[in-house]
Structures are given as structure tokens and as C-alpha cells.
Subunit: 253 residues, 2 copies
């Protein structure tokens, strides 16, 4: 019982040498050794290794990892929570970088050259910032986002009018279905959801079922959206969201 270096290395996707190194510096010493001196890693060792690799991935120096893993009164859950926190912060950082890249691209295509300060805005300060779950950020900077921006930039006033008119019709359809007591996962509601998805795809960007789910969540999360629906019928917003989900489920996505 217990795992050999080679097994652990394969499992964790690191080299044997790395495990030797962690043993040398006392970061992760196997719980046991065989009579002939072979390393034997216990399950507890594996858990520790998991945490080590996580913190390492996030750029912590090994010495510091040793400290935080050995600090008394810290259990598994503490670390998982901290790692979760660190991850979202890091994602935030990368998203800022994405935004910076987009600005740079824009400046580039417009032939403007950035000032030195603008150029490095994103690198200099890594703010010790509180993060908060950001809603629409999920797909900010994705392909769909770009597509949408490009297409919308080209739309005329007339286009907008037709676009909103079409949207209004779908909304009214939802309102009617809802007040009529039709289920959100029924034929009618799902049909309207699909219509809406097509609407977005036609006018804005390629709206996958997954993205469509996201939109549904956004509609209930943000009151500005709800303001379009709730006055028609209280609860309509959530009804629409549920319809989007049902429709996505039906499509097997």
C-alpha cells in the first residue's frame, strides 16, 4: 500500500525529479520508506501534493507554499477556499489583460500609437483587490462579444427599429404564454425561446445554447432587463429564463 514515486509522478503529471526535489527541500516527504529505501506516498501525501501543485500553478514560491501548508489550524477546506479566491483574482487579472489587448488592437487598427504609459497600464500594478462575482464577465472578450460589437457598429437607425420591433414581438409572445399559464418547458415557451435565440444570432452574434442560458441568467440578474418584462407581468423574467434553459436542455446542450 502506498504509491511509488513513478506512480505519483504519472498521476500528478510531474516528473520523478520534481518529487525528489520536494523531498529534498522538505516540502513533501513521503510518509514512509520501504526497507530498501524506496519512497512510499500515502493518500495524505497525495492531498498535500495536490495543494502544492495548485499553489505552484498560481505562482507561489515553494518555500512559501511550505509555510502556508504547515501553518497550524489550516485544514483542507481553508485551502480550497483560498485557492478558489486566488483563482478568481487571477482570472480577473487575465481579463484585464484581455481588455488591454483589445484596446491595443483598436489603437493599432486606427493607426494611433499608444503612449508609453498606456502601453504598460496593465502590468505595473497588481492591485490587492477584493473581487466579487462578476456577472457578464463570463464571456466578455470572447468571439461572440467581438462579433456582436462589429455587427452592431454597422447598424443604422432603421436597423435598430426593426431589431427592437422583432424583440418586442417575442416578448409579447412570452407575456401571453406566461399569463395563459403555459409551462416554461412547454412547446410554446420553448418555441419562443428558440425564436429569440435565432433573433440574436441573426442580428448580433452566433448565439449558442450555452450562451443563451447565460443571457437568461443575465435577464433575471439585472433589473434593467427585468424592467422590460416585469411590468408586463410579475415573474415574467424568470419565466423567460426558464424557457431558455428548457429549450437548451431539449437541444441537448
Amino acid at each position: 500500500m502506498g504509491h511509488s514515486v513513478g506512480q505519483v509522478a504519472r498521476l500528478a503529471g510531474v516528473t520523478v525529479r520534481t518529487l525528489h526535489h520536494y523531498d529534498e527541500i522538505g516540502l513533501l516527504s513521503p510518509g514512509q520508506r520501504t526497507a530498501s529505501g524506496y519512497r512510499r506516498y500515502t493518500d495524505a501525501d497525495l492531498e498535500r501534493l495536490q495543494h502544492v501543485l495548485f499553489y505552484r500553478e498560481l505562482g507561489f514560491p515553494l518555500e512559501e507554499i511550505a509555510v502556508i501548508l504547515d501553518e497550524p489550524g489550516s485544514d483542507t477546506l481553508t485551502h480550497l477556499r483560498r485557492q478558489h479566491e486566488l483563482l478568481s483574482r487571477r482570472i480577473g487579472r487575465l481579463r484585464e489583460m484581455t481588455a488591454a489587448i483589445e484596446r491595443a488592437m483598436e489603437a493599432n487598427t486606427m493607426g494611433i500609437s499608444l503612449t508609453p504609459e498606456e502601453r504598460f497600464e496593465l502590468f505595473g500594478d497588481f492591485r490587492p483587490e477584493e473581487h466579487e462575482a462578476e456577472a457578464g464577465e463570463l464571456w466578455g472578450g470572447t468571439e461572440a462579444f467581438e462579433q456582436s460589437r462589429r455587427r452592431m457598429a454597422k447598424m443604422t437607425k432603421d436597423d435598430w427599429a426593426r431589431f427592437t420591433a422583432e424583440a418586442a414581438r417575442t416578448t409579447e409572445g412570452f407575456a401571453k404564454a406566461f399569463t395563459d399559464g403555459l409551462p416554461a418547458d412547454g412547446e410554446v415557451a420553448m418555441g419562443l425561446a428558440e425564436e429569440h435565440r435565432a433573433h440574436i444570432t441573426r442580428w448580433c452574434y452566433d448565439c449558442s445554447y450555452e450562451i443563451h442560458r447565460g443571457l437568461g441568467e443575465m435577464y433575471v440578474a439585472d433589473p434593467r432587463f427585468a424592467a422590460n418584462y416585469e411590468p408586463l407581468a410579475p415573474g415574467l423574467t424568470r419565466y423567460i429564463r426558464d424557457a431558455f434553459h428548457a429549450n437548451a436542455d431539449r437541444a441537448g446542450s
Copy 2:
């Protein structure tokens, strides 16, 4: 003309030694030297440095960076695009790690211990894209979300009318500021942003600056929102988002 090592170092948030190093290995040699041997970095040097730091951040070894930056026929835009792509991939990876952490937390609180294989699933192989699976779930179940739902459920038709009227006034304010050519990070725009944030907080839920940023991104990301603003003035949506960000920056958040 040209910048000294110290200036460049401060700008880019690296040490002088790092710049010396990049010079030594030929990754980034300053365009000129003064008579006394001082390094002088040109604007082109700065742009190169920008790319160097980006690729470095993403884990590329310096030697490789030198190769891809020197490869013939690659201009700025090529690199920006590639960086953008790399960033989104990296974000995807981190999101998978987040999901893994969440699974681990669940297992932990339920007293289940993971098998060795499960433990390292996320590290070893980076899977062919199958993420985004839980798109909307990010907001679902958060505090703000629940709060919003509870409050909105209690709103009467009159409440909605007042709510939308208030929102409309803010929107018109933005439209005017925008067409007047006022900057998004100016007093007026930021004031309107703050007004909007207060509006949300009063009617819906406790809207932190971070959440407010998120809303701004949502406005540009979703055409249904844009439909409210773009017809008033093309580009207004992004203007509003920028104002939200500026306002959040001002609040030090």
C-alpha cells in the same frame, strides 16, 4: 529623446536588472546608446518590451519569445491576436481549475475523499474544450441575486413605472453627456454612473463597484441592452460602460 533604463523599468514594472538581462541575451537591446554608454530606449523598443512581457506572463521562455518576435512577416496585429487567443485559453484553463476546486470542496464537505485519479484530473491533461458548461450558474444563488429577486417580487406596477422613469432620466443624462463630447472618465459621466449605481442599490440589491463594472460589461455584451442605448447615439453603450469603470476606479475599487 528616448527613455533611460530606469524610466522604462518604472513604466513597465520590471527591474533595471531585467532590462540589462534582456539586453545581454539579445532579446531587447535599446535602439541607441549615449556617448557615455547609457542605454536609450526608443518607442519601438517599448512596443517590443510590451510583447515580451505579455508572452513572458503567459509562461513562454525568453528564448522562444525572441524567436516569435523576430520571425519575419509578423506585425503588431499578429501578436496582439495571438496574445488574445492565448489569454482566453488560459482563462479557460483557470476556469476548469475553479470547477475542480468546487468539486473538491463539495466532496470535502460531504466527507467523501477523492480517489487519486480524481485528485489530479485537472492538472495532467488539458482536455479538449468542454468548458462553459455551467455558464449561468455563476450568479445564480449569490446574495445579490436573491436580494434582487425578493425585492422585485414585491414591486407594484407603480413601482415599476417610477423605477423605469428614473432609469430613463439617467440614460438621457448619459446620452447628453456623450453627444456633448464629455469624457467617460469626467466628472459628469462618473456622477451619472454613481447615480445609476445608487439607483440599482435603492431598488434592487446592494450594487458594489465590482458588480457595477460587471453590469457595464453586460450592457455592451448583450444586444438587448444595447438596443436601449444605441439608437439614442451609436457608441453610447460602451461610453456608459467606460463611465462605470471610471467611477469604480475613482472609488478605488
